[in-house]
């Protein structure tokens, strides 16, 4: 089955890329954009039919590799 994961920076962690995107959007007449936070999206195909098992495996992957918990949070969709 396929598991989708989103990794985002934690609140309060500086996101220079998000800031640059926000400023560019503001300059493109989207002047009502107040903040942009950039993250990562993973589509993971696991050879496992049991949804709970697959998700718990992906949770391990998030903790060990996909996210760095010092600055990032992950969400399994």
């Amino acid at each position: 089955m396929k598991v989708k994961v989103i990794v985002t920076l934690k609140n309060g962690v500086l996101d220079p890329q998000g800031k640059a995107i926000q400023q560019t959007l503001n300059g493109m007449t989207f002047d009502n954009v107040l903040e942009v936070r950039q993250g990562k999206y993973f589509d993971i195909e696991v050879n496992e039919n049991d949804e709970n098992k697959a998700k718990s495996q992906v949770e391990e992957m998030c903790k060990k590799l996909l996210a760095n918990l010092v600055i990032e949070d992950y969400k399994i969709l």
């Binding site: 962690v13 500086l14 220079p16 890329q17 590799l65 996909l66 760095n68 010092v70 600055i71």
Partner: protein
């Protein structure tokens, strides 16, 4: 003294490090990332570069490579492990050093000489260096050191800050911070001070004609204190 430099796909300061280590008397060997074991060594160096193309996060893939288990075992048994630039990023990704190196605050790749202040000399890396401020070279896009407030307090309390960015007089304030690093941190130790990670490249400052010699002071002290 024997040293080992680990080569990852995308490492590009490995040979500079090899030259520097040999110049100051180390018997250096190059070790491939896909090997299982590191030959007997007194020092392991993780060199600068762009291991695995900086995919996912800088140093994250190298931090899970086959050789890393031996590096971690060596470090945990008290062996000296030095990570420069990408090597520093790898050390934080393995958890051997706290925190993480984020993208530079102003999104630019920085390549220039900087001054760093030595904050702790009670360790083998800086013990007998007479100077307080060294001129070294940095070249990175992700050198913005970050950690949580609790972690920062613990790093400060344990004397784990190794070097901070400063001016030629040693003022390590916000005006002399090239990349946004918290407290101007350019390099840190683990608690036992046998592991050092730092963004500046001492191996680029070992030639009086081409660069400067403050890197020489670093290597001379290192081999002298082992």
């Amino acid at each position: 003294m024997k040293s080992s430099v680990i080569i990852f796909p995308g490492s590009n300061c490995d040979r500079d490090m090899d030259v520097a280590l040999k110049k100051f008397g180390f018997e250096n060997q190059m070790v491939w990332h896909n090997d299982d074991e590191i030959p007997k060594s007194d020092l392991i160096v993780l060199p600068g570069g762009f291991s695995y193309g900086d995919y996912l996060r800088c140093g994250s893939i190298a931090g899970k490579s086959r050789i890393i288990k031996s590096v971690i075992d060596f470090a945990n048994s008290g062996g000296l492990v030095l990570g420069i630039c990408n090597g520093f990023q790898i050390l934080t990704e393995t958890g051997l050093l706290p925190g993480i190196l984020q993208q530079n605050k102003y999104l630019n790749f920085i390549c220039k000489n900087v001054f760093v202040k030595i904050k702790n000399k009670e360790n083998k890396y800086f013990k007998n260096i007479k100077k307080e401020v060294l001129e070294l070279h940095i070249a990175h896009n992700e050198g913005n050191y970050f950690c949580s407030n609790d972690e920062l307090k613990s790093i400060q309390d344990n004397g784990q800050i190794a070097v901070t960015y400063c001016d030629d007089k040693g003022n390590d304030d916000e005006n002399n911070n090239p990349n946004g690093a918290i407290k101007n941190i350019a390099g840190i130790f683990n608690k036992n001070k046998n592991i050092l990670g730092m963004m500046p490249h001492p191996e680029r400052m070992i030639d009086p004609f081409l660069s400067g010699e403050d890197g020489s002071l670093f290597f001379e002290n290192l081999i002298g204190s082992m």
